[in-house]
């Protein structure tokens, strides 16, 4: 058992709506995996299952050899899974510093909080200047930086990043990816949900291509784009289409 995260025949959904069907894949320690696919194929749902936000209806999720199927999100977090969810991923009503303290108090202990906050502000000086500002009033890019600062200092074993580049200026997207790369070099595995295929493919080792709640292809990231395009054109006209593989 060397893999860090393992999905085995995972199905999941929201109420009566089923979003994932028997999804299986794994992530090795330190590996970066991209989840690719069109809108609504279940990428975010996989991210949520991988971080404990959503309990799978069947199948198992193991992390670091421990079965965490159906466990609460805080157990995933304590095991070393960090999640930067889609959209706003900071507490809008807390200040910048409080956002960081909230998270470091648990991961670094009472004594380590100040040092960790200092480290975060060293990495992102812009945040240090705004440490008393309410996080909800930060710009989208600054909120992303705050989320990244938290994750980088925490040094998780796996970061699940959902649409990190959404709504950000290209220059900030580059910054975000530089930080993801930095995380990788520290040995953190990545599970990246991204519609910017180019960015994701450049960073990741492997890609998982999804279609309508199922994995259709898993392979080296650099071959993923071609596969994705084929997928798109296949599903465009399902009536005339016949299985090709």
């Amino acid at each position: 058992m060397t893999e860090l995260l393992r999905f085995a025949n995972v199905s999941a959904g929201y109420g009566p709506f089923r979003a994932l069907f028997d999804v299986s894949f794994d992530i090795q320690p330190g590996e970066a995996v991209a989840l690719l696919g069109a809108n609504g194929v279940g990428k975010t749902t996989i991210a949520r299952v991988a971080t404990g936000l959503l309990a799978p209806s069947s199948g198992t999720v193991t992390f670091g050899g421990t079965d965490l199927t159906g466990a609460a999100a805080h157990r995933f977090a304590r095991a070393g899974v960090a999640h930067a969810p889609e959209g706003r991923s900071v507490f809008a009503t807390l200040s910048v510093e409080e956002n960081l303290r909230l998270s470091f108090r648990r991961s670094k202990g009472r004594a380590g909080v100040d040092a960790a906050v200092g480290q975060a502000f060293e990495l992102f000086p812009a945040l240090g200047q705004r440490h008393r500002q309410i996080a909800g009033t930060l710009s989208g890019g600054q909120q992303r930086m705050l989320a990244m600062a938290r994750v980088i200092v925490e040094e998780p074993r796996l970061l699940v990043a959902d649409e990190l580049s959404l709504g950000l200026a290209p220059i900030i997207v580059d910054e975000v990816y530089r930080n993801l790369d930095r995380l990788r070099q520290h040995g953190c595995a990545l599970l990246i949900v991204e519609q910017h295929v180019g960015h994701a493919v450049a960073l990741c080792d492997r890609a998982v291509v999804l279609d309508r709640g199922r994995t259709t292809w898993i392979g080296p990231a650099d071959q993923a784009s071609e596969r994705l395009v084929r997928n798109l054109f296949q599903t465009e006209s399902p009536m005339e289409n016949s299985p090709t593989e």
Binding site: P16, R18, A73, H74, P243
Partner: protein, 717 residues
């Protein structure tokens, strides 16, 4: 010189005099802010939580003669946090994703149910005339007079000390401690807090235990100010305290404290100086008596309406709320036509049958109860319009009904106008008041609309009721507010049976009007707005206009119903019929049984007037067993149970806004449909229970069959 000195000492005395009540407001406001900050719930049940601890303390210390300390521990540190934990676990944990309006309805239900449960369990009865003791020995008997102007009792000093210490302690908790930070984080997003490795459930349970203990502490401390320990008193106090809490936008503890003190001071200053000014300024006299008690409600109403920051202070939404399945749609559930038509015919036949039996066989007391049920159903249709159709919570329906009742009293008793005409005029006046009120109130939205209407109800209760040309004033307290029965041509409605017929006719007309409104332009517009206000506006709908219409129509119906109720009882009976707290139960009843339909209103009316006699006293059981002697001994059940039943019934409002009865019916229909489907062996039509599934690609490379996920309708094509 002497004038200035007297003025100075009067000012000081007024300020000191205003400090003890100010402390009480401050204490409750702090608790209210604490609950809001740590749970995100606009907790109108705070007063109920405070009242049961006060009652527990009274029971233990005075009735059971326990010493102060154990009585305090049991009431504040055992009962109160226990209740908080129970509320969190059983109620509010499941309401995290519910709208703030749904939550406020639940807290209303709880503020009726919780004290009743306590009274039933501990066989406690609100005592009149016996002042509860405070938590310091001889608290009301020993006085200290630091300035030689106004003496403070020990109880008052203790309350002040606790309020200031609590404010400092709580401020420190939120400012410096990890727990305080976690509590604030959980309110914004429990799931995101979990992602930080923190157990959100545990933090939220702690929050409730803490705020509930605080409520208990406040209750025990302020109890000596009351001579009864009735839940409505505590509820009134919470409404007053909301005025103070609102000054701090519901999140600032120091501002809530200062707001509470300021309220106390303003009231004391007015109480001291207004009588003096009115000696020379005669026009001030009518206000002199009534202004003082109404200050908090004036402040609350004024702040809500004129301070735009409140409206703009929108709660930060949970970015991860999408993880939960979407809440049941407010507009969902148009029932299919065929079966309901069948059941409607049967239901109508049954109703007519019962009506005939009542009309022919019933004695005076039954006729009275049935008439009351019909009249209440008419009033409840006003809730159907404003809550069921417009999705707004109005807590001043009692006031509109009272306006109807008082108009009939004024016009018919004092000016000899025809009673029925007076009733219609009353309804029109109520509608006008409703329309005017709705302009500032409805743009507040959500919780604030509810609070502003509540403030209006209390304003009416504390000022207008006492003015002679509006509601009869002081004389009505002595002589009663006589309301005659109408005489129309050959029909004299003094006869109870004919009056029943009249009320039934009015109910049918109003019910028909409500169904017409619901299916007409206004109804469609309202349902569009409740679906999405932004989307409705983008296609040219004016939400303001539709809502003002709904509010005015609702007020008209309430006014008409209130007039009928007064005519029926031959007296307005404001206190027992229409007072703000009494009218809360109306909303609770209608919402728990069904706020969408005429049927729901009718059932609520029947429940209001017949539930006690029919069910709780065992009469119905007696009919089934065909002898009143065979009624089991558990009957009669304490009538307080109805407050428990219907109060707790509101809890399901968040998940099933259509109400208990309608929900039950839909469940039944689903079962019948499922059974039928199993019998025939094939899928029927897609009903509203059928799961929405992702259509599966036919081009899927895998060979598996997807029987489980193909939409039901597909198989029958």
């Amino acid at each position: 010189m002497t004038l200035a000195a007297t003025l100075g000492s009067d000012l000081l005395r007024a300020l000191l005099q205003g400090t003890p009540p100010g402390t009480v407001y401050a204490l409750i406001a702090l608790g209210f802010v604490l609950t809001y900050k740590t749970s995100g719930v606009f907790n109108l049940a705070f007063g109920a939580q405070a009242s049961i601890s006060a009652a527990m303390y009274y029971k233990a210390h005075t009735d059971w003669r326990w010493p102060i300390l154990p009585a305090l521990i049991v009431s504040v540190f055992v009962l109160a946090p226990g209740v908080g934990l129970l509320l969190e676990r059983l109620v509010f944990r499941h309401l995290r994703t519910a709208s703030s309006v749904a939550k406020i309805v639940v807290t209303l239900g709880l503020s009726i149910a919780v004290p009743s449960i306590f009274e039933l369990v501990f066989q406690f009865q609100g005592v009149a005339g016996r002042t509860p003791e405070g938590i310091v020995p001889n608290g009301a008997g020993v006085y200290y007079d630091p300035f030689g102007v106004y003496p403070f009792s020990r109880n008052e000093l203790m309350t002040m000390a606790v309020a200031v210490t609590a404010m400092l302690g709580l401020a420190a908790l939120f400012k410096f401690s990890a727990l305080g930070l976690q509590m604030r984080a959980v309110v914004e997003s429990p799931r995101m807090t979990e992602l930080n490795g923190i157990r959100a459930d545990r933090v939220s349970a702690l929050s409730w235990a803490l705020s509930s203990s605080f409520a208990g502490m406040a209750g025990v401390l302020i109890a000596p100010r009351f001579n009864t320990l009735a839940a409505p008193d505590f509820f009134n106090l919470v409404v007053v305290a909301i005025a103070a809490a609102v000054l701090g936008k519901l999140v600032s503890l120091p501002r809530a404290l200062v707001g509470g003190f300021c309220l106390g001071w303003i009231i004391a200053l007015l109480g001291t100086f207004l009588p003096r000014w009115s000696r020379t300024q005669t026009w001030l006299r009518p206000f002199q008596e009534n202004l003082t008690p109404s200050v908090p409600f004036l402040v609350l109403f004024g702040v809500l309406v004129f301070w735009p920051a409140i409206r703009r202070a929108r709660e930060a939404s949970d970015p991860l709320s999408g993880v939960d399945p979407p809440p049941s749609s407010v507009g969902s559930g148009a029932r299919g036509a065929s079966r309901p038509r069948f059941s409607r015919v049967i239901g109508l036949a049954l109703l007519v049958g019962i009506g005939v039996i009542v009309f022919i066989r019933a004695d005076t007391s039954w006729i009275f109860l049935v008439t009351q049920a019909v009249v209440m159903s008419t009033i409840y249709l006003s809730v159907t319009v404003i809550t069921g159709l417009a999705g707004q919570i109005s807590l001043c329906q009692g006031t509109f009904a009272a306006i109807g009742g008082f108009t009939v009293f004024q016009l018919a008793d004092r000016h000899g106008v025809s009673v029925l005409l007076a009733a219609v005029i009353g309804a029109v006046i109520a509608a006008a008041v409703g329309a005017v009120l709705s302009l500032p109130v409805l743009r507040l939205g959500g919780v604030w609309t509810a609070v502003a209407t509540l403030a209006f109800a209390y304003l009416f209760d504390s000022v207008l009721v006492k003015i002679s040309w509006i509601c009869g004033g002081g004389t009505s307290l002595l002589q009663g507010t006589r309301v005659p029965r109408p005489v129309v041509g050959p029909w004299d409605f003094a006869d109870d049976r004919s009056f029943l017929v009249l009320t039934v006719i009015v109910f049918i007309v109003v019910a028909f009007a409500v169904t017409q409104i619901r299916s007409g332009t206004v109804g469609r517009t309202l349902s569009a707005i409740s679906g999405s206000e932004v989307a409705a506006e983008s296609i040219g709908i004016s939400p303001a206009r539709a809502r003002v219409t709904a509010f005015a129509v609702s007020a008209f119906i309430a006014g008409l119903g209130g007039a009928l109720l007064s005519i029926h009882q031959r007296n307005v009976n404001y206190g027992s019929n229409f007072s703000p707290f009494a009218a809360l139960f109306w909303l609770v009843l209608v919402v728990s049984l069904g706020a969408r339909t005429v049927q729901g209103a009718a059932q609520a009316g029947a429940a209001f007037s017949l539930f006690d006699t029919l069910i709780l006293r065992g009469t119905f059981m007696g009919w089934i067993l065909r002898s009143s002697k065979r009624i089991p001994e558990i009957f009669p059940i304490n009538p307080k149970w109805r407050f428990v039943f219907f109060g707790l019934g509101t809890i399901q409002f968040a998940r099933h806004p259509e109400g208990l009865v309608e929900h039950g019916k839909r469940q039944m229909r689903r079962r019948v449909d499922a059974l039928r489907k199993r019998r025939t062996g094939s899928g029927g039509s897609i009903d509203d229970a059928s799961p929405v599934s992702t259509p599966q690609p036919s081009s899927e490379p895998s060979n598996e069959t997807d029987t489980a996920v193909v939409p039901v309708g597909e198989t029958t094509r």
